[in-house]
């Protein structure tokens, strides 16, 4: 089990950046934790601290209760990191890189395992070419192969799904499922909630360097319904202010018009029908009527807006 407790980190410079203020979460064995926040929220910084590449100003990363930062040279063996933008020595060949990095491990790693990892990510044919000639996708696959060779217990995946084609997505999902089954823990960051909601057991949100919520996908769906779920919208050609006021008065509903869509909150089916009749009578063209769908992305943005509101 991994526990991340109270991480904070400020990057020095002419203008210091407080990248992390207070980051907390846990990942259990066999669990995939989604890690969601806007660009610049602090996901990559958190993951780099967990990987031992940078040090936090304060806070702890515990792996099975052991301080992973202080004991980096032993504990890091259990972790593999797939960076957001993997950078390699461009003059090296892919396979040589894997052989080289495999030596930075306390257990020995055989050449067979390296070739197997290369084949698994589909790089077998390009393995003896210089990384200079790799596309971004190939570099990311090489980073993934690198993570596989160490047979870790924990994988830190930074925006791993970003930019994958459908086939790649599928491969990634299957791989994660398999890894989970074998008891592995995964941290899966993304700035797009829907991208990872399908494979995450729980999701932790981060905003401006602070984690503020961890929920299962089911809990998020409930929350969505409570907050946003009871809207119905009418797509109409036009609507003037008098008409909007009349709808509010006549039907006693909460109504908004954003220029294209007429939003009605908490309307019963009868009320919807009556509003439709009203609109038609007024010679408006009603293109469609729809109940708002469950949309995690909307919920995520709503949360961010709320947090910003609290701040102001």
């Amino acid at each position: 089990m991994i526990q991340v407790i109270g991480l904070s980190k400020t990057f020095d410079g002419r203008r210091p950046v407080r990248a992390l203020k207070n980051v907390n979460f846990e990942i259990g064995k066999g669990e995939v934790l989604g890690f969601v926040g806007l660009n610049g929220a602090g996901k990559t910084t958190t993951i780099r601290i967990m990987a031992g590449v940078i040090r936090p100003d304060s806070g702890q990363v515990l792996i099975d209760g052991k301080d992973a930062i202080a004991n980096h040279d032993s504990v890091a063996e259990m972790i593999a990191w797939v960076p957001e933008n993997p950078i390699f020595d461009p003059t090296m060949k892919g396979r040589d890189f894997l052989i080289y990095i495999s030596r930075f491990n306390n257990r020995n790693i055989s050449r067979d395992k390296i070739d197997e990892a290369l084949a698994r990510v589909g790089l077998a044919e390009k393995a003896n070419e210089k990384i200079k000639g790799y596309s971004l996708g190939m570099k990311r696959r090489l980073a993934l192969a690198q993570a596989f060779i160490f047979e870790p217990e924990i994988m830190l995946m930074d925006e791993a799904m970003n930019g994958l084609d459908p086939e790649g997505m599928n491969f990634f999902r299957e791989t994660m499922k398999e890894f989970k089954k074998s008891g592995g823990s995964v941290l899966l960051s993304s700035h797009i909630l829907t991208e990872i909601s399908g494979i995450s057991d729980r999701i932790t949100f981060i905003h401006r360097g602070e984690t503020f919520q961890t929920s299962t996908v089911e809990e998020l769906e409930d929350e969505f319904r409570k907050k946003l779920g009871n809207y119905t919208y009418f797509e109409v050609d036009s609507l003037d202010d008098n008409e909007l006021e009349e709808i509010r008065r006549n039907f006693g509903v909460n109504a908004k018009f954003d220029g294209k869509l007429l939003w009605i909150k908490d309307a019963s089916d009868d009320e919807i029908g009556n509003i439709n009749i009203y609109l038609v009578k007024k010679n408006h063209r009603v293109m469609q009527i729809k109940r708002a769908e469950f949309n995690l992305e909307t919920l995520f943005l709503q949360k961010v807006r709320e947090l910003e509101g609290v701040k102001r």
Partner: protein, 443 residues
């Protein structure tokens, strides 16, 4: 340890295969070789002069040695020291220890020699622990060579003047040698001292006075010995090229990888970051060391073709200087990897430190020298400038090269071997501590 050697091996071979390093090594060696004929010509143009002192022969002779001095203004100043004679099967040795003068300006030294002469054998003349030669030319003659003596106040440093005399037979009573001028030299194959420079030596015995020799001011005055000329030439070349090679190696192996993030995946593995950093620094060091040691070994052979003799001690000091420069500049460049923002920052930094230590620092030193000359004698100002030079690794490397010379004081007046060693150690400790501090301070 295994991880450390993995990095060390890779960095060493990678930098050795770097065409930039190879080009620099080849360019440097070519410049050294192309300049050899010119150097050979300059060395030959330094004309040696001889001076031989003769005096009447007396069977019951002895040499009574006293040392006194008058300063260049003519005022007598005290010179103190102990004279010890040592008899032995190897001959007789005369030791003068704790040689001190009360003046800070260049002085004229009178030697007053009184000694029972063992007619067979030789004696070696010592001043302040510096060995000066004296050899028998024939069974009844003794040549006495006295290096000396421009000595700052209370200093036991040998100066940059040298007197060479050859004395036949013995002297009943006192005689004096007046030395005035600047000399540097070494014994030739006959045991005679060759003197280079300008000056006058006069022999006085009772009322008898004879100018022994006068070396006129050469057309181009130089206090350089041939060795010193070659040494200052090679040290200038390595000061220009070795730091460039070191900066490139430090950039390629550490700074660039650190700033670009190519090091991150390695650092995420179970390895101490110190292991990674030092493996890279020492790997880069080894690659350059190997190339430039080869050059240091090739150069003497090429020089021999032009009748320029490079001694093993000079080669050792050249290698020491190259190692020192390489290490310091790799560390200084490596440091830029910790605060660099883009991959070009460390390159700019590398160029800045190269220009600073190769040019700006010397300009500042010259300024200090110029200002200090107002209140200091020129020799003390020279000494001060050389001491200031200890703050610059480029100068230290030059001093290390000079330390291989028979008389380094010709080039680094006022700086002793101990000071050079301490200066180098201080620089190594300083750069290593700065490296460690900044590697923790930034990441």
């Amino acid at each position: 340890m295994k991880k450390f050697f993995t990095i060390l091996k890779r960095e060493t071979f990678r930098e050795m295969r770097s065409w930039k390093i190879i080009v620099i090594a080849i360019v440097m060696l070519s410049i050294m070789l192309v300049t050899l004929p010119l150097l050979s010509y300059s060395v030959q143009s330094i004309q040696p002069s001889y001076g031989i002192l003769s005096a009447p022969y007396n069977d019951s002779g002895y040499i009574d040695l006293k040392v006194m001095a008058i300063d260049s203004g003519g005022t007598p100043v005290s010179v103190t020291g102990n004279v010890t004679f040592q008899y032995g099967s190897n001959g007789t040795k005369v030791f003068i220890s704790d040689f001190k003068t009360s003046t800070s300006s260049p002085i004229i030294v009178k030697t007053h020699i009184k000694f029972e002469i063992p007619l067979n054998g030789f004696f070696i003349f010592w001043i302040s622990g510096v060995k000066y030669y004296s050899e028998i030319i024939s069974t009844n003659s003794i040549s006495i060579s006295i290096h000396q003596i421009v000595s700052p106040s209370n200093s036991s440093l040998p100066g940059i003047a040298l007197l060479v005399t050859s004395y036949n037979g013995t002297v009943p009573g006192n005689f004096s040698l007046y030395i005035n001028g600047t000399y540097a030299g070494k014994p030739d194959s006959n045991g005679f001292m060759k003197a280079f420079g300008i000056g006058k030596v006069t022999f006085k015995y009772g009322n008898y006075s004879q100018m022994i020799w006068e070396i006129p001011k050469p057309e181009i005055y130089s206090s350089l010995t041939p060795e010193a000329l070659i040494s200052s030439f090679t040290s200038s070349i390595i000061s220009l090229f070795v730091p460039i090679a070191a900066i490139i190696a430090g950039y390629d192996s550490l700074a660039k990888e650190k700033v670009s993030g190519a090091l991150d995946l390695i650092l995420s593995r179970p390895v101490k970051r110190e292991t990674v950093y030092w493996g890279k620094v020492l790997g880069a060091f080894l690659s350059i060391f190997i190339y430039f040691v080869i050059i240091s070994l090739v150069f003497p052979f090429a020089a021999a073709l032009f009748n320029i003799n490079v001694t093993p001690l000079e080669i050792v000091s050249l290698i020491a200087a190259i190692s020192f420069l390489t290490f310091i500049f790799i560390i200084l460049e490596g440091i830029s990897g910790f605060f660099g923002k883009s991959v070009s920052t460390p390159l700019v930094w590398g160029i800045v430190i190269w220009i600073f230590f190769n040019m700006i620092y010397s300009i500042i030193s010259l300024g200090v020298l110029y200002i200090s000359q107002i209140s200091l004698s020129s020799l003390n100002a020279l000494k001060l400038a050389n001491i200031i030079g200890l703050g610059n690794p480029i100068n230290i490397a030059k001093y290390i090269t000079y330390m291989g010379l028979p008389n380094p004081q010709v080039l680094v007046y006022g700086v002793s071997l101990l000071e050079v060693v301490l200066g180098s150690i201080a620089w190594i400790i300083f750069s290593v501590l700065l490296f460690i501090y900044l590697s923790r301070r930034f990441e």
